[in-house]
């Protein structure tokens, strides 16, 4: 039986039998590939870059996963077009950034496979390790978190604690965070910082990340439920222009994760599976997170109603950045602008303003832990965004925070 003859013809060429169904459209292999690459190129070509006198440098974030595997190949093709084309390249130079997560997930084989993939490309590769956020050469002081009857405080850590290796501090940080949801949230914050840091150190003005439409839909719902609605346009937008000197672009934002894995499969692009905190979670396990639930929710809905992902992403795409967002104070942990009402929302668990609290502290320091000098304590309730306040309240006291958190 030759089933190929019975399949509907491709919607585009109207000649060949279709091989893949993307929402309601059926494509043959070559028309699918053309459509997929065109969407990517048009997204990348239209994306903005910070104003500089020269062409910007592009940093491609590569985790090894499906989406960033496709991103790496597509960016490489974009940057080095065939010999016949005379198009002016949009980017001056392309670099590959890989964040090594082996300190917490301990998978050396995965790291090896990732480096093997990167070596296939003729671009400079930068590797950063997650524990770099605890590097003592980069940061001279670390803060730890304290809660007492007066509220939530950050204080400079004691000398003896910071003598531990960066890796130990990183592992302790994640041990000190109670829920899987908060662990995943903290990991995202750390990666975000490392991305920006790597871009600045290497003179890159644009970072490309592999967020697919599916991932953006999941992140939109996830971040809204985490209380990041205020800064959502920065977190999932076509390009995040929150930082003046480095923009984050998402050129795969019009492609479903199904399209991405099919493209990888067609081209034989091998990906590496990087575990997350909720890998192999199931309905009964303790490691289940909001992120895991949200992904299940979206992929389940999408099966019944194939417009789910585009509906969420196009709705979220219409969100405008709040006028205050660019002038508001930035969160100490995630760098996103703090919503005007973040502290009011949490009023029932927070206390007075910073000034009043410090005054009260000086008047009544007897209640504070004797080990910590009171002038060292800084109330941070108005210096964190809503979702980072949630993270902090889910973190054990005395947990040492990454070096980018400074008071």
């Amino acid at each position: 039986m030759e089933s190929g003859n019975q399949r509907v013809t491709c919607i585009k060429c109207k000649v060949l039998p279709s091989d893949i169904k993307i929402r309601q459209a059926n494509f043959c292999k070559s028309c699918f590939q053309l459509n997929f690459i065109t969407k990517f190129k048009s997204n990348l070509a239209r994306s903005a870059a910070p104003q500089t006198e020269k062409r910007p440098n592009l940093l491609v974030a590569f985790s090894g996963g499906n989406s960033s595997r496709a991103l790496l190949q597509l960016c490489s093709d974009f940057q080095t077009p065939g010999s016949g084309t005379k198009l002016q390249q949009k980017y001056n130079e392309m670099l590959i950034l890989h964040l090594d997560e082996s300190a917490i997930f301990e998978d050396q084989d995965a790291e090896k496979s990732i480096m093997e993939i990167i070596e296939k490309y003729p671009f400079k590769c930068i590797t950063k390790k997650l524990e770099d956020v605890f590097s003592s050469s980069r940061y001279s002081k670390f803060v730890s978190k304290t809660t007492n009857s007066k509220g939530l405080f950050f204080s400079h850590s004691l000398e003896k604690e910071t003598n531990e290796s960066p890796k130990d501090l990183l592992v302790k940080l994640f041990e000190g965070i109670k829920s899987t949801t908060s662990k995943e949230y903290m990991l995202e914050c750390i990666k975000h910082h490392l991305l920006l840091e790597a871009a600045r150190e290497n003179g890159c003005e644009v970072i490309a990340v592999g967020n697919s439409a599916t991932r953006i839909a999941v992140k939109s719902i996830l971040m809204t439920s985490e209380g990041r609605g205020f800064s959502l346009p920065f977190d999932v937008g076509a390009e995040s222009t929150l930082e003046e000197d480095v923009y984050i672009v998402r050129p795969l934002r019009s492609s479903l994760s199904k399209e991405i894995v099919y493209y990888n499969n067609l081209l034989g692009l091998e990906s590496v599976t990087i575990p997350t905190f909720s890998t192999k979670a199931n309905a009964n396990s303790k490691i289940m997170s909001l992120g895991y639930l949200t992904e299940n929710f979206i992929s389940g809905l999408d099966l019944e109603y194939s417009a789910t992902v585009p509906t969420v992403t196009s709705t979220v795409g219409k969100l405008k950045v709040n006028a205050n967002a660019t002038t508001n104070k930035k969160c100490l942990i995630c760098l996103a602008p703090i919503g005007d009402n973040a502290s009011t929302w949490r009023k029932n668990v927070t206390i007075d303003s910073l000034d009043n609290t410090l005054k009260e502290l000086k008047d009544d320091s007897s209640k504070i832990d004797e080990n910590i000098k009171d002038e060292n304590l800084v109330n941070v309730e108005n210096s964190l965004c809503y979702s980072c306040l949630s993270l902090a309240s889910d973190t054990e006291n005395d947990t040492i925070l990454p070096g980018f958190v400074q008071i």
Binding site: K21, V261, E295
Partner: protein
């Protein structure tokens, strides 16, 4: 009959790290020609090393797993009702984040 099964995108973690395998299954199940849904149950009973919820939800495959029949999206064939032929290649690819 012989069926080539392939797992990628994290699916291999559910099957003891195996990325490719040729399996022998009966050409008929309950007197009817073997369908892909029969093979999925066979995989669950014989090869799956992790919790069944990660592979199957309800009476079909978990949403977010792409199934290809000889490199063609199974939605364009008959989905779970597709009748297997000898030497078919069935590919399971996870599109989910972090496996």
């Amino acid at each position: 009959m012989n069926i080539n099964v392939e797992f990628s995108g994290g699916m291999e973690l559910l099957f003891g790290g195996v990325a490719k395998k040729t399996i022998q299954i009966s050409p008929t199940f309950g007197g009817n020609p073997a369908k892909i849904s029969d093979m999925i149950i066979w995989l669950k009973d014989n090869l799956l090393t992790e919790n069944v919820d990660l592979f199957i939800q309800g009476d079909s495959i978990r949403p977010g797993i792409l199934v290809l029949i000889n490199e063609v999206d199974w939605e364009l064939e008959d989905g779970p009702e597709y009748e297997l032929s000898n030497n078919d290649t069935i590919t399971f690819i996870s599109t989910l984040h972090g496996g």
